[in-house]
Symmetry: C2
Subunit: 311 residues, 2 copies
Amino acid sequence: MKIVALAGGVGGAKLAHGFSKIINTDDFSVIVNTGDDFTHFGLTICPDIDTVCYTLSEKSNPVTGWGRNNESFDVMDALKELNAPDWFLLGDKDLALHLERTRLLWEGQSLTLVTERLRRVLGVHHSILPMTNELVRTFVNTVEHGKIPFQEYFVKYKYLPKTIGFDFIGIEKAFPSPEVLGKLAESDLVILCPSNPFVSINPIISLPGVRNILRGKFIVGVSPIIGGKAVKGPLALMLQDANLPVEPESIIKMYDDFLDIFLIDTNDHHHTRTSEIPSSIIISDAEILLTDISKRIHLAETIINLYEKYK
Amino acid sequence: MKIVALAGGVGGAKLAHGFSKIINTDDFSVIVNTGDDFTHFGLTICPDIDTVCYTLSEKSNPVTGWGRNNESFDVMDALKELNAPDWFLLGDKDLALHLERTRLLWEGQSLTLVTERLRRVLGVHHSILPMTNELVRTFVNTVEHGKIPFQEYFVKYKYLPKTIGFDFIGIEKAFPSPEVLGKLAESDLVILCPSNPFVSINPIISLPGVRNILRGKFIVGVSPIIGGKAVKGPLALMLQDANLPVEPESIIKMYDDFLDIFLIDTNDHHHTRTSEIPSSIIISDAEILLTDISKRIHLAETIINLYEKYK
């Protein structure tokens, strides 16, 4: 059985971590959003790929969920002394990865090949695939600052600006990499990780052809909303800005043309208004707050069992 | 009195340091070789500019003469863990400067403006001018490895390859910056620092128009050869490869169309064969091993006194 997960950063990485512990290396891979990628100090930084690599190699910062464990910040301190921009935190180990990625990209290698090399040297056994080798850059339309690059919205402005919409610049001319198309084609089960639908999952499924492929696959989604709140990040604010309830139903509607099963948190189960959800979608519940590795593995097992039951 | 120094890295920086201690900020500036510059991990690294900045701001490593004092190497250690190239040492503080330079260059600023900003934030009071804003890249023709970028010859191969010649790629289309031309035009005295003539001074004076400007100026050179040896680096080997004696005379001949005074070490004075030197060039002697700040200041004073005497 072949499983593919579509993921953004922290939330997606946690569920992928669970699958990576119970599925053979050839049978599980993660397709990662690259819309958050940006160029900073001339370096190509891929925050979601990095978070997935660090989480699957168990090198991530256990407190933040992103960045490296046992990290130092000597370069960041020196940048501050130079009055350089310091809104994006660059740990020394993290920076080394950005440097090596940028070096390999300058050599002319694709982001897919570079990521393959870097995840291996970090000790990740499963494939981590950038959604595309092309440049796709998420811009956020905001009330306060107009149209700004995602990392400025997310990190520099701490997702305080009110959002009007999202543009994935370059997406029309981008295409999924051959490796992404290959993994999707051979997959039995595709997981929509509990990642932000607007800016993590949507860039992936907006790549030409991907949504159509997903309509022909067995798809299990996991809610990034628990107890009327986003587990992490700006999702609740984005839903409010779009005049949508901060409830799993809002997420389901974004995927309703290809979703087979949607998992919501057990505590949310009793009050989910299934009347508004297409009857073709099975709503199930589980413990989806993935605070430790045993919970991540348990959720992965739950998803596989649901697939075996309903496939 | 306006003084301009032409400099490469360590040797040039030391003499410039001496001048910077006794000359007003508006009256002394350093024009620095950029032929050694290179792109590494996607970053623009300017080793000679950095060395001059660190030396004049008294932030250089006192043992090596290049790189930063009180330096840490956390990123370098992390790069090694990623199996990234480690032949070029990147200290954390040094790396911050490369990052900020690269960021500012990506903004579209000229190398001259970027260097002006960085030298100020480092605490350098005098102008440090890249010889040009254009890309000029020194390549070394070697017996063992063919034509290789200067930093590979110099750092990666530790200047062991036998040299056949030097190419300054891009120099025909490059031109001195307006700031360089302005400083040369208003200068009363131009110093050729005790830098490598082949790869530090020659790129500067090979820029279109510069040699001709120097012919109309009062020029004092300082020997980079003491006691039949190069003070530092590959100069002695380069002279041998070119079948030239490792003596000050070999240096003088490279500058004999514009040199007014050449300073050699006091210990070399008795055996210098002045018969082969054009009578228009005054040979004088001084202590030119610039191990501490008092010697650097003393040599700067000696040069000014010689100018006053012979101008």
